[in-house]
């Protein structure tokens, strides 16, 4: 089986598991919705459209970050039942294929949440983007990949530690901060239409490329950290 064959097998397995259980997606979706409601307590989104436009990009990504952190922990914890993780380590398939399959499936899950959440956001916060809204189709996947590639990696890293649920956000957030800055600024620029988001999109592309490579190279080390 080729390398991409392995990646696809892992991806298909994760999608199938999620299709049968639908735990992660439902959990993330409801959590993100709750975050939207909680943020609306902090300010009045409909009376101040300019303020809302300026901060909505940040709120959207913070909500997505929280939601994906809750789900990313689950995505590996699933593999711990019945020692599946040990079986994965014994398998001759490349370890990075396991990682890529998992990261891609997480990308699909979080993107699905975005597809539902973005319209909800626009309706609840009465948003009318003043910039080129089609650029969001570029910014959202780039930002999501930045979050999920590192998130999947660090979820695997914190899997066998004490307090793994606690450790993931502590490790992921500082590393993901440049990406968060890029996606928040790019989204805000699209919503307000005041500045070009080009520089931030470039930052996101650079961040994604660099950290995807780092994750692929170091995943095997993390997977076999205990021996």
């Amino acid at each position: 089986m080729s390398y991409f064959g392995h990646v696809l097998t892992h991806l298909r397995k994760d999608l199938q598991l999620e299709w049968r259980a639908r735990e992660m997606i439902n959990g993330m979706l409801f959590f993100a919705l709750l975050v939207v409601v909680v943020f609306s307590l902090a300010f009045d989104p409909t009376s101040y459209p300019t303020v809302t436009r300026q901060i909505s990009g940040g709120l959207l990504w913070v909500g997505l970050l929280f939601a994906s952190i809750t789900a990313l922990n689950q995505s590996w914890a699933r593999e711990l039942h019945n020692h599946v993780m040990d079986a994965q380590r014994l398998s001759p398939a490349p370890a990075s294929a396991l990682f890529l399959g998992k990261a891609l499936s997480n990308l699909i899950f979080v993107s699905f949440i975005e597809l539902v959440l973005a319209p909800v956001f626009a309706i609840f916060y009465n948003l009318h983007p003043l910039g080129q809204a089609w650029l969001l189709l570029l910014i959202l996947p780039l930002g999501t990949w930045g979050l999920t590639v590192n998130g999947t990696f660090f979820a695997a890293l914190s899997l066998r530690t004490r307090n793994r649920e606690l450790l993931l956000p502590l490790v992921l957030c500082p590393i993901a901060m440049p990406a968060l800055l890029g996606m928040i600024q790019a989204t805000t620029n699209v919503l307000t239409g005041e500045l070009e988001p080009g520089l931030w999109i470039k930052l996101l592309v650079g961040y994604d490329v660099v950290f995807t490579i780092a994750c692929i190279f170091l995943f095997e080390t993390v997977l076999n950290a205990a021996d």
């Binding site: 530690t161 307090n163 502590l170 780092a214 170091l218």
Partner: protein, 248 residues
């Protein structure tokens, strides 16, 4: 044990080095206090002589940490004894990074209060420097929360990720509009300071680099000793008790 009493003694060269470091620190202090007054800020700017070395050095220690992390992963299988040394060095340099970045942040805030009238501002350069601090705090936290053999491996991986993150942080200074002054050295035609202030800058840079190296060495020695105690407690068997199944 004879061996133990030898390792516990503070070696002569270390005492001499420490004395030299104190001498250079004293010269640095003298130079900083006698350097000419700055045109707009008066005496308040003198905190710069402490802010500058600490911030510059807190960008140096992370790379020592990263190199040690690489060496640890490289030697992990082939030379476990040497890998342990690399891990002790990685821990020491990670802690010194947090220490120097904390001092850099604190002196920067004092200076910011004097120069801009505010303790803190979310300008990209300050934010990314805070990010550096957060990265290495999370590194130390990971070391706290992991146990056993995987501690060194996982923290080495995180150290490499953190070191990759720093250039993004460093580049941001050139990319983004910023309230922080342009880099004092090598920031363009207008950069640079009065040549009379240079001795104070360089003496303090040397002094704090020497002090940092001393604390680093001390922390490294303590960690090596701790590793030694763990090894003694684990028993004389160095090789794993059960045969390791080599999968790949």
């Amino acid at each position: 044990m004879n061996n133990r009493s030898q390792t516990q003694r503070f070696p002569l060269w270390a005492s001499l080095y420490l004395a030299l470091t104190f001498a250079v620190l004293a010269i640095g202090f003298y130079e900083a206090m006698t350097a000419p007054k700055e045109a707009t800020m008066g005496n308040l700017y003198r905190v710069f002589f402490y802010h500058f070395p600490h911030t510059i050095l807190s960008f140096v220690f992370p790379y020592m940490n990263c190199v040690a992390a690489f060496l640890f992963l490289f030697w992990r299988r082939s030379n476990p004894a040497r890998a342990l040394k690399a891990d002790a060095f990685a821990l020491a340099s990670g802690e010194i990074t947090v220490l120097y970045a904390s001092v850099g942040l604190a002196t920067g805030m004092l200076w910011g209060r004097a120069a801009w009238g505010i303790w803190w501002t979310w300008d990209p350069r300050l934010t990314t420097y805070l990010l550096l601090w957060l990265l290495y705090v999370s590194y130390l936290l990971l070391r706290k929360l992991t146990t056993g053999d995987q501690k060194a491996v996982l923290s080495a991986v995180l150290a490499i990720f953190a070191a990759i993150d720093i250039p993004i942080c460093f580049m941001s200074i050139r990319w983004w509009r910023t309230q922080h002054p342009a880099p004092v050295f090598g920031g363009g035609a207008d950069s640079g300071i009065d040549p009379h202030m240079l001795p104070a800058v360089f003496w303090n840079l040397a002094a704090w680099a020497m002090w940092g190296a001393f604390v680093l060495g001390l922390r490294y020695t303590i960690e090596r000793r701790r590793q030694g105690i763990v090894a003694v407690e684990a028993g004389p068997v160095v090789a794993p008790a059960s045969p390791v199944l080599e999968v790949r």
